[in-house]
Symmetry: C2
Subunit: 317 residues, 2 copies
């Protein structure tokens, strides 16, 4: 990446966790002359201005996008098409239009038709987040050391792609480029399936007759609580992901269920060797994730402060 990426005017469509974090990250590195923001709710707009991660708030997407050199749509995937349609008439020639949605084929399908001649449309997806949402959830460090995937469509100008890459790099991310279709397949296994499974197991646990909800909560430190974090994610966002990445998700769900049936059979027939083999080979993957800097090494995700500190100091295992 060459020069410092800088946009005179950046517009954020959607001021939740990702929009907010982008605003904070731009402020931190001085990446934008002016950040304009749009959100449907008047409270969200007011709060974003108060926190200060945008410089101006607007009642319509079109007003916020006017004259912007970079427009980032940060709404749930289901709303991308209507936002794109609304801002289409005001988009500036030479502007870059991108998004942060968790699926990419659907974004190409829904936003693509609304991109005016001379506007550079480059779908994107920062692989970062928390289980929180709303304008208070964002923070400048969210993208630090995480990957951002850009999925340019055929004919994208290399200069525009380079400029957007440099922008994400300056926000703290590593940038990868891939085909939208491959993105959707990869994310189906690393993100969509984990969320769906987490939602499902928390649902199953709430519906039991023989075990009370209070028991589930009290004893959750034995494993269950780990799933509740993902299952506390934004319902609108995840409904839209499920509706817009159907085929890859169904494919991954099919494989997961097939494997689970085999595992269930090993449990039923007491096949200890098969269980031990699976439980051994999965262990190495966590180590690789930690080595790649994508999770912390402290046991229990560092929830125990005393021990987390000790683990930092000598890193025994």
């Amino acid at each position: 990446m060459s020069a410092k990426p800088h946009f005179e005017r950046v517009a954020l469509m959607g001021l939740g966790l990702i929009g907010g974090s982008l605003g904070h990250a731009m402020k931190r590195a001085g990446l934008a002359g002016h950040v304009s923001g749009y959100a449907r709710s008047v409270e969200t707009r007011a709060r974003a201005l108060e926190i200060g991660f945008i410089d101006s708030a607007h009642e319509t997407a079109a007003e916020a996008a006017k004259n912007a050199d970079l427009v980032v749509i940060c709404t749930p995937v289901g709303a991308l098409g209507s936002v794109a349609a609304e801002i289409e008439p005001v988009l500036k020639k030479g502007a870059i239009l991108t998004d942060v949605g968790s699926v990419k084929m659907a974004v190409v399908r829904d936003v693509g038709p609304h991109v005016p001649e001379g506007v550079h449309f480059i779908p994107g997806h920062p692989i970062a987040g928390t289980e929180e949402s709303g304008p208070d959830a964002g923070f400048a460090e969210l993208f630090d050391g995480r990957w951002c995937i850009l999925t340019p469509v055929p004919g994208t100008e290399p200069q525009a792609l380079e400029k957007l890459s440099a922008f994400w790099t300056a926000c703290g991310s590593n940038v990868d480029v891939m085909e939208p279709r491959h993105h959707d397949l990869v994310l189906a296994i690393v993100s969509h399936l984990p969320h769906i499974i987490a939602y499902n197991i928390v649902g199953t646990a709430s519906d039991l007759e023989a075990v009370t909800q209070s028991e589930v909560i009290k004893y959750s430190a034995s494993g269950f609580r780990d799933f509740t974090r993902l299952a506390a994610s934004d319902p609108t966002m995840w409904r839209d992901v499920c509706l817009n990445n159907k085929e890859p998700i169904l494919e991954m769900l099919g494989r997961f269920s097939e494997d689970l049936t085999a595992l269930q059979r090993a449990i039923r027939w007491g096949d200890g060797d098969a269980l031990f083999d699976l439980f051994t080979r999965t262990r190495a993957i966590r180590r690789s994730i930690i080595d790649a800097g994508q999770d912390i090494a402290a046991p229990n995700f560092g929830r125990n402060p005393t021990h987390a500190k000790a683990a930092d100091e000598d890193d025994v295992q």
Copy 2:
């Protein structure tokens, strides 16, 4: 709980995560005059002595258990019966014999026949742990604020139960008493199913042809990494849990799969309302777990240090 619980001599059978943490917790609160330890491996015994969470190490379980007032078996569940058989001849009259296994019906079945007249056998299970194992994994704070479930068998003397409860309380735990059968059902949903599901999804992700292992690792911060922690747990321990709590686990797996099939159908048919309903009602459970002190409130399990600090300070959202 009345007087400070104290045992002249405590024997730990097994010096891994739980045995080690118990040793540390006893040292912290001065709960034992002498802690003797047994582990199969000579390296583990030497390391435990070096760290100092035991006072003496022994080559056989029987030697370690001799003269002990409290014997805690901390081996994987599959080894409990043979340890109990070995120490049976040396157990002191009036001693309390307990364990820390994740299943309880099987412990009653395997250990029960080896309990001599006059010895108080009270199965137990501290609901605490990390994904690490071995003598370096333990720490004194592991049980702080977590629950410990005792599952006394019919005829247990109330004084012995009270003494063991007071001991766990002094180790930092809250103590609950329940039937072994109910314990195994509750743990099947809050602990065993989450581990099995985590192992399974990590296995599924490693076996794909169209998505590389390196992609799974790079983009794991989008959800997948949360599952890898449980899937890095001790394989022997979890093989033994699966083999020894078969019926409740198969029951919970059946319910989970049934619910997952319904969810899969909602995705296939694009039933956004059903998805939104499920994704909404699961959100409240995480809040209850945090309110109950069984998980930390910081987003992303507090992995992002800057933001975790900020969340502590004003606790918005």
